[in-house]
């Protein structure tokens, strides 16, 4: 029982990271109507970018975040037209082909990463790596490592920035219009192709930045991708696909499930628990916890 506050705290800290993974992922689904199976691989590449940039420049990974964002946003911006081409093809089943395409991309990325980086696992050092806050009250004790707290602050900042971008800017209006209705948004003068590229770039950039943080907090390895792809799916399905407001709650729930399993049960069963929850949610409420997915 005395471990429960710690488990919940860890859950919140971990959940924060998942918010940033899932929010950009969900946004991309809302706008492009495509599931990006390569999401975990973008995170993995971001984590390696953080690891090596830190090694070469000696700069703290937190300072490197903007650099990583710009590099990966550019890559995403350049990759999106290919996906757009697949999705707007009139032969076969474009949505199906879109899924196949990103799935193939994911396999290729993993092969490249294993070739280049090998099978080793590392972690990126940061000025927040050491040190932690310790609380003790009412007989409970709570440890919060500063790196995890920094991660949560990053997550909140990204969420706030995306919220501002979507709700308060013209770009955000165009994005929301596209998510609602592709055809009429086009009529209203929203450039679907351009906006799609920007959203995809934004999503790849944010995913890579989150990867840098995961590299600091947890670890960096070429095989880390699929795990995060599953987590991203879990969060967006739980939140309801394309329903952004549900993402934080679903992400926190995932964090909680993970930390509780880590402390109370066999950590090896975490993935099974995650899958069981996913299955039950899909069975009972396929539009997510809030019934607002598309």
């Amino acid at each position: 029982m005395e471990l429960l506050p710690q488990a919940l705290m860890d859950g919140i800290l971990l959940g924060g990271i998942y918010i940033t993974i899932a929010i950009a992922f969900s946004l991309t689904y809302g706008v492009m109507h495509i599931i990006d199976f390569a999401v975990g691989e973008w995170i993995m590449f971001g984590a390696f970018a953080g690891y090596y940039l830190n090694k070469w420049t000696g700069l703290d990974p937190f300072l490197l975040l903007p650099v990583v964002f710009i590099i990966f946003a550019l890559i995403g911006y350049l990759v999106q037209p290919v996906i757009h081409r697949v999705l707007s093809g009139n032969k076969g089943n474009p949505l199906l082909m879109g899924l196949v395409f990103t799935f193939g991309l994911g396999i290729m990325f993993q092969g490249i990463a294993l070739t280049v980086f090998g099978f080793y696992s590392n972690s990126t050092p940061s000025m927040f790596s050491e040190g932690s806050f310790f609380f003790e009250k009412f007989g409970f004790s709570l440890t919060i490592s500063s790196i995890r707290l920094a991660g949560l602050i990053y997550a909140l900042a990204i969420t706030a920035a995306l919220h501002y971008l979507l709700k308060k800017t013209n770009f955000g209006l165009g994005v929301r219009a596209l998510a609602l209705n592709r055809d009429s948004a086009g009529l209203m003068g929203v450039n679907g192709k351009q906006t799609g590229s920007l959203v995809y770039g934004l999503y790849v950039g944010v995913s890579a930045m989150t990867g840098v943080l995961i590299g600091c907090i947890l670890s960096v390895s070429a095989q880390m991708g699929p795990e995060y792809t599953i987590f991203a799916f879990f969060v967006v399905v739980l939140a309801g696909m394309g329903y952004l407001a549900g993402v934080p709650w679903a992400a926190l729930l995932l964090g909680m499930v993970q930390s509780i399993f880590l402390i109370y049960f066999n950590p090896g069963h975490t993935l099974l628990a995650v899958f069981a929850i996913l299955y039950i949610i899909l069975l009972i409420s396929p539009r997510g916890l809030f019934g607002r997915g598309v």
């Binding site: 599931i35 032969k91 090896g268 099974l272």
Partner: protein, 327 residues
């Protein structure tokens, strides 16, 4: 059409039946046996992907389910292979039913995700359970008769092909599935129940996959989560079908033969670069989608049909012109 398929099918089958009598090279027979297995796996994958429009990224899980069921029944319950093998198919079918229940009502993206997650969960399950031997896997009694496995594989895949050909190309079921693939909402107005049809297709895809898994387990005599439940089975089935051509029965066969031949050569000469194989698989999938979305067979056939269609269009136009003037 019927004559043509028999004209092609029968000689090929006869050649395949006669093959072991001519070829005594054990390695070569083994390669052909595996090639036939992959044809079966690719065909089963295509039932769902090509005909129904649903991607099963967890195809390998059903292969593994069949392999493990057969192995466990033989090793723990001491069932004879002849009884354990069909059970592998049954369990794969049950697995498809359970996995399809929440997902087949939903859009294809959910299904793709869910099956992919399922394959990881099944892999995890095999790793932590005692009955599966955990990460060490299971060893089966060796039955060293290459010809037995060659003919068994050939029989199962031939029956699968014939069954799918009949169901998908010659009976209402195939057209109904295609209707679902094209527009499941619209199909409902025509009296079709999409969820039920998709479920039937999923089970039709899973059962042969499970049976092939069972044969594989007994043939190779060793299964473990990494090799039998890994991503490679799903990834390879996908690339074979996408590259060969979805939505046909010939496409997956062509894809399976080409990709498997490539894999065999790659493994034989470049076995130090196994990771490169992964990159090539991914690249072939992505490039096929962009440049030949209908696959090799679909593109070839498309060229032929387009010619026909264009001629027809011209005829239609020519026939219509005077008539509309007459109105």
């Amino acid at each position: 059409m019927k004559d043509k398929s028999i004209r092609w099918g029968l000689p090929i089958l006869l050649v395949l039946i006669a093959m072991p009598a001519v070829i005594h090279d054990a390695f070569f027979l083994r390669v052909i046996t595996e090639a036939i297995m992959w044809i079966g796996l690719a065909l089963a994958f295509d039932v769902l992907a090509g005909y129904t429009g649903y991607l099963n990224f967890g195809h390998g899980a059903f292969f593994g389910l069949g392999a493990y069921t057969t192995a466990i029944l033989m090793m723990q319950a001491h069932w004879p292979f002849a009884l354990a093998l069909p059970m592998g198919g049954v369990l794969a079918g049950v697995g498809a039913f359970v996995a399809g229940l929440p997902t087949l009502r939903l859009k294809g993206a959910y299904f793709a995700i869910a099956t992919w997650a399922l394959s990881r969960a099944v892999q995890q399950l095999a790793l932590i359970m005692d009955i599966t031997g955990g990460p060490d896997g299971m060893r089966l009694p060796s039955f060293l008769n290459p010809q037995f496995f060659y003919y068994l594989m050939l029989a199962i895949v031939s029956v699968t092909f014939a069954l799918l050909w009949f169901l998908l190309e010659r009976s209402p079921f195939g057209l109904k599935l295609k209707a679902i693939r094209e527009d499941d909402q619209g199909a409902m107005a025509l009296g079709l129940n999409p969820t039920k049809l998709k479920m039937q297709a999923f089970i039709l895809s899973a059962v042969p996959t499970g049976i092939l898994g069972g044969v594989y387990a007994y043939w190779i005599t060793f299964i473990d989560p990494a090799s039998t439940l890994g991503d490679l089975v799903s990834d390879q089935a996908l690339v074979m079908v996408v590259f060969g051509g979805m939505g046909t029965l010939i496409g997956p066969v062509i894809g399976a033969l080409l990709i498997f031949a490539f894999k065999t050569l790659f493994w034989a000469y470049l076995s130090d670069f196994q990771l490169l194989y992964l990159i090539i698989l991914g690249a072939v999938i992505a490039l096929s989608v962009v440049f030949i979305p209908n696959g090799l067979w679909g593109t070839l056939r498309g060229l032929r049909f387009q010619k026909k269609d264009d001629e027809k269009k011209d005829e239609g136009l020519a026939a219509k012109l005077p008539q509309s003037e007459g109105d």
